[in-house]
């Protein structure tokens, strides 16, 4: 096609021009400016007057207890969500990977929360987690009471708030990871697929020696994608708890957001964003390394 009729040296660049223009203006330039600002004391309302202050923003961040708290919360959230979501998605995929139509319905049911927007779900789960007041209570407490356990104020208890948010996040996203595992299962050979129907004897052994090794690319992908996604935590705590109680759910993104718009400390916020980017880049590199090791 490259030597096709009518294609000149300029043709590829004409095809690429709109994308390059928008990517340059709205992605590359802002990123480079943010990198530069991260070494200045820039104020949100007075960017021009920014003075070079070296790495002071970075050292300030690393010693700021609230930033450390935000990092700790986000990492803890990832630690709760990633294994639970991946494992649940894997078993759901094995379970619903059958041709009859009613399994398709079940697949759809698991996928529906993925379709519903996260702000809607954050608002909804705030209501589901409502504490007990008289005969008024959220559905979660109703179920807990039905099991004979004491009702809780899930989102206002510093020890329960982050796990409560993690729980709803697993529920929300598990359908998507399940679809990716299903796609992986569809690439397996027929023999492997038959082994994937985990009913009958030695199911555990077949799972360990046949299915899991064959599914490793999907597993690595899901684990790292979920890890990166969970580090982007923002909407759920922002709407459900505002980062509280006592900073128990404040996330990295919320820290950057508040540093910018409440503290107006643009330089410091950009330094936070850069650290975040480094973290995500590191995680992605880790995935690539895992995938490469896999191939060799």
């Amino acid at each position: 096609m490259n030597r096709a009729a009518g294609a000149t040296r300029a043709t590829p660049w004409l095809f690429l021009a709109p994308a390059l223009l928008l990517l340059g203006t709205f992605t590359l330039v802002p990123m480079l400016r943010a990198a530069a600002w991260s070494f200045t004391g820039a104020d949100l309302l007075d960017v021009e007057g920014a003075r070079w202050i070296g790495a002071a923003n970075y050292s300030d961040l690393l010693t700021d207890p609230r930033f450390r708290r935000a990092f700790f919360n986000t990492a803890l959230f990832a630690l709760m969500v990633v294994p639970a979501q991946a494992a649940l998605a894997f078993f759901l995929a094995l379970w619903v990977n059958r041709p009859e139509p009613h399994w398709r319905w079940l697949r759809t049911a698991f996928f529906v929360p993925v379709v519903v927007s996260m702000p809607v779900l954050a608002v909804l789960w705030t209501m589901l987690y409502q504490p007990l007041r008289g005969d008024q209570m959220g559905l979660v407490n109703a179920l807990v009471a039905g099991l004979g356990l004491p009702a809780q104020d899930w989102l206002q208890n510093p020890r329960l708030a982050l796990p409560a948010i993690a729980f709803m996040s697993v529920w929300q996203g598990v359908g998507f990871q399940m679809m990716i595992f299903l796609a992986g299962l569809q690439n397996l050979s027929k023999d492997q697929l038959e082994a994937a129907q985990i009913d009958g004897a030695h199911a555990g052994q077949r799972l360990r020696h046949v299915i899991v090794p064959a599914m490793r690319p999907s597993i690595v992908f899901v684990l790292t994608a979920t890890l990166i996604l969970s580090f982007r935590l923002f909407v759920q705590p922002y709407l459900m708890t505002r980062g509280g109680p006592a900073d128990a759910t404040v996330s990295l993104i919320q820290y950057v957001y508040e540093t910018t718009f409440l503290g107006r400390e643009l330089g410091r916020a950009c330094a936070g964003a850069m650290l975040f980017l480094l973290l995500v880049a590191g995680l992605t590199l880790l995935q690539r390394l895992c995938a490469r090791e896999e191939r060799s």
Partner: protein, 275 residues
């Protein structure tokens, strides 16, 4: 017997999984005082169900405006994005030119860039370009930065690469130029991939929150998610209104998903894994 049990387990699991959303739908019709009443038994109460919450939510959250704004935002991103991303993807898949490997490397790097990192510096770029304040400017600020997406370029490129060359070569023999081949041969041939990208983009941008929160400073520019968040945070808190609003915000995406479900192939979702 075993089959019936399978159905039962599947049905019960689905119901339990969807319980939160079923509760949302049911409670959105309940009177304000009874939204949380009766615990688990409340789920089965049919007393006093009405559309009052919907009327109130529609008015208080200015949902007509919000739905319209979100619709324009998503349509803009989809329209521009479909054209620009597929053009770039086609160039990367089908032309040999100096710098191609470098550009593709850039696409791979940008794949991982989270929107949230960019939000703060992006605001200043958008401000410098004068895209703040007015209605049209805010709409441009909502659309332009997110029309081109590295994932979509990457994904569509893979699908262009997988196309058999015969089709295009036949068109070349007929005297078609590169744009004609892109537009009338290659693009129609990857329709399933385009559908996948469209659906994923609708889901992603209908739920956009942090960026609209930053740029939609005026009430008339608010998207649906901001309208909902506003009801949820500004007193007086009316739970019934919030629920009705949540249902109304959800219906359009459910509809899109239902219509597009057939066209989105599950294996496409995993296409990024192997490379």
């Amino acid at each position: 017997m075993k089959r019936a049990r399978g159905w039962l387990v599947a049905g019960a699991t689905a119901a339990l999984f969807l319980l939160p959303l079923l509760w949302m739908l049911h409670a959105s019709f309940r009177p304000e005082a009874e939204v949380f009443a009766g615990g688990f038994r409340g789920l089965f109460s049919l007393r006093g169900l009405s559309l009052d919450n919907y009327a109130s939510a529609w008015r208080r959250a200015a949902l007509g405006v919000g739905l319209f704004n979100s619709f324009l935002q998503v349509a803009g991103i989809l329209g521009l994005g479909l054209l620009f991303n597929s053009l770039a993807a086609f160039a990367l898949a089908r032309f040999e030119f100096a710098g191609r490997r470098l550009l593709f490397g850039l696409v791979l790097v940008l794949l991982i860039l989270p929107v949230e990192v960019l939000a703060v510096p992006l605001l200043l770029t958008v401000r410098d370009l004068g895209l703040t304040g007015g209605y049209a400017r805010t709409l441009a600020a909502l659309v332009l930065p997110f029309a081109v997406k590295a994932f979509n370029v990457y994904f569509l490129r893979q699908h262009f690469l997988a196309l058999p060359r015969d089709l295009e070569e036949a068109a070349v023999v007929d005297g078609a130029g590169p744009f004609r081949i892109y537009w009338s041969v290659a693009l129609p041939a990857i329709r399933p991939a385009l559908a996948t990208v469209l659906v994923l983009d609708v889901l992603a941008h209908w739920s956009d929150f942090i960026w609209p929160l930053i740029v939609c400073t005026r009430a008339e520019t608010r998207t649906v998610q901001l309208a909902l968040a506003n009801l949820f945070t500004q007193p007086p808190i009316q739970w019934g209104d919030i629920l009705a609003c949540a249902v109304l915000v959800t219906l359009p995406v459910l509809l899109v998903f239902r219509l597009a479900q057939r066209h989105v192939v599950a294996s496409d979702l995993g296409a990024g894994i192997k490379s």
